[in-house]
Subunit: 330 residues, 2 copies
């Protein structure tokens, strides 16, 4: 957790200083809408009516292979080219269609639907983790074109890859360092401090806590973590899924209200399955609105300049949640 961020609040004052349109791409026929199931590769998982025929309508969550995958079901090949190593880009890349409704995000859905999306992330992650080729299953969600979404219909993505990502390895190593010196989990301690302090608290959802992290990299960044230590996101049971859905929905509605439906990325951080020491990881979501642009300084130094203090962001997100609707933009 060795992260330093420059908080430069003089650069902005009001929610309307942070505005980025989602810029939906104008589409003809949406390949994710019900009735257009033939436009995607055959589904690998779906929740829907009991005697539904695969790849027809009647689903409420549906998982399909990405038609334009970043990684593929290839043989494992490695090689060298002088100094450099290469490996075939093997993996799985899937799309979770989060609702039949052609809407840009989950914030207008009911809690039961959001819980079904979470259940689907977990079930499909567990299925992929059974394949011995994959060392990590990354679940994430891009909303809006400035956040990388190329389809408007609300969806998330699951990528299975044959190694533990460098970023997650660093995070796990940081948790281990803290544990060795304190015998405690750093994220357990962070959650306890944020609940006691309150200034950066966005939502107390009982079993789950949403807060703006002290060293927020992005304006409006929010983390959601289970209050009690838990390494594996995919082990969450039905009651926990419902509670997490309510917490996530509170955060998404807060973001939509405070920042006028911003583009954002949601990234699930969970213990790599089968990794030694993974039980010391504390899973969490990191939600990063894309309201500022990461530029030369961040690229060069690895540090972020954030014009919005997390205490202010948390206050706006709590207010947004209470008030509802969009903020005025004067």
């Amino acid at each position: 957790m060795d992260r330093w961020v420059v908080v430069a609040p003089e650069r902005s004052r009001r929610p309307s200083d942070f505005r980025m349109e989602r810029q939906p791409r104008k589409q003809g026929r949406c390949p994710l809408c019900p009735g257009n199931e033939a436009d995607t590769p055959p589904e690998v998982l779906a929740y829907g009516k009991r005697d539904r025929v695969p790849d027809t309508s009647g689903w409420h969550v549906r998982v399909v292979p990405n038609k334009f995958p970043a990684v593929r079901n290839l043989p494992r090949e490695t090689g060298r080219q002088g100094l450099y190593e290469w490996m075939s880009g093997l993996g799985r890349h899937e799309i979770v269609v989060e609702t039949p409704a052609h809407v840009p995000d989950l914030d207008g859905q009911n809690p039961e639907q959001v819980a079904e999306v979470l259940r689907c992330w977990m079930e499909r992650s567990r299925q992929l983790a059974r394949d011995p080729r994959w060392r990590y299953v990354q679940v994430f969600k891009n909303v809006g074109r400035p956040a990388g979404a190329s389809l408007e219909h609300t969806h998330s993505q699951i990528i299975a890859i044959p190694f533990v990502p460098a970023e997650l390895g660093r995070e796990l190593a940081g948790m281990h360092v803290y544990r060795r010196s304190t015998s405690r989990c750093v994220l357990c301690d962070m959650v306890a401090q944020e609940l006691a302090d309150g200034r950066r608290l966005v939502h107390d959802g009982g079993g789950f806590v949403a807060f703006a992290p002290f060293a927020s990299r992005f304006p409006g960044e929010v983390w959601i973590a289970p209050r009690e230590h838990a390494p594996d996101f995919t082990a969450l049971q039905a009651a926990g899924q419902r509670e997490l859905a309510a917490t996530l929905l509170a955060v998404l509605r807060g973001l939509a209200a405070a920042f006028n439906a911003p583009p954002y990325n949601l990234v699930v951080h969970t213990a790599p399955h089968g990794e030694a020491g993974g039980e010391h990881f504390h899973w969490h979501f990191e939600i990063s609105p894309r309201l500022s642009i990461t530029a030369g300084f961040e690229l060069g130094t690895g540090y972020y300049i954030n014009p919005l203090p997390p205490e202010t962001a948390a206050a706006w997100l709590r207010d947004g949640k209470t008030v509802g609707g969009n903020v005025s933009n004067d």
Copy 2:
């Protein structure tokens, strides 16, 4: 140099697949244009006519403090808030106005003007490095709004900070690991391989070599490095500055031609002044066009998905340079 990138070329085929407008912000009076010197804080360095009065016209390169700095000339204060540490955001943040002409980039300037910009980066970096508070001076350049530029008039930025950035520390550590196992410099070896191989070579500028790195994170990414080992960018002499200017200009014109004047970031990587082991660093520029969007996968894993193989990018950049002008956009 432990970087893995997913190269996914199936996702795109032609230069026109990579297009991002620079989206200049419509401005009234430009604070960086000659005649408007009073719109900026007083200059800290300028090259111009011999008996010119400071903060008047007659300059050809001018450095001013950033009116909205990310870091400031503050007392050093540190503290704790429970688990977290904080430090006052101290540093210097300056703007280099690269030419009196109100143009969006350096690619239309003559080599002498570009050499003067490089001389200015070096001179101002050396001046800032004399202040014992600063451990690193970061020079970078953002071109176009999608790359973070908020002013249209071509400019670069210099930030002095009181620590060695994490990213640079990792890079230096990587170079040390390679040196311990081979007794050689990894970037010396990379430059030699790229010159011998040729497929990723963008421009051979004699003392400087421009190439698309094997593990390019971004479509069209280009590195420029001195052919001979050199840790400190700011030690370059006049003849070297002229040769580097010609190489940089060749790359910028290649980018403008191949990718239709893309937004980009240029980041100078140089040895931290006064840092033990810094002599093993090999300085270089990293130029990253912003033609794709870094999204949830990159945020979560620290890996990049790049749809454009560096060999293809290098071929386009070489062709663009030869052909000149913009590519057609059919």
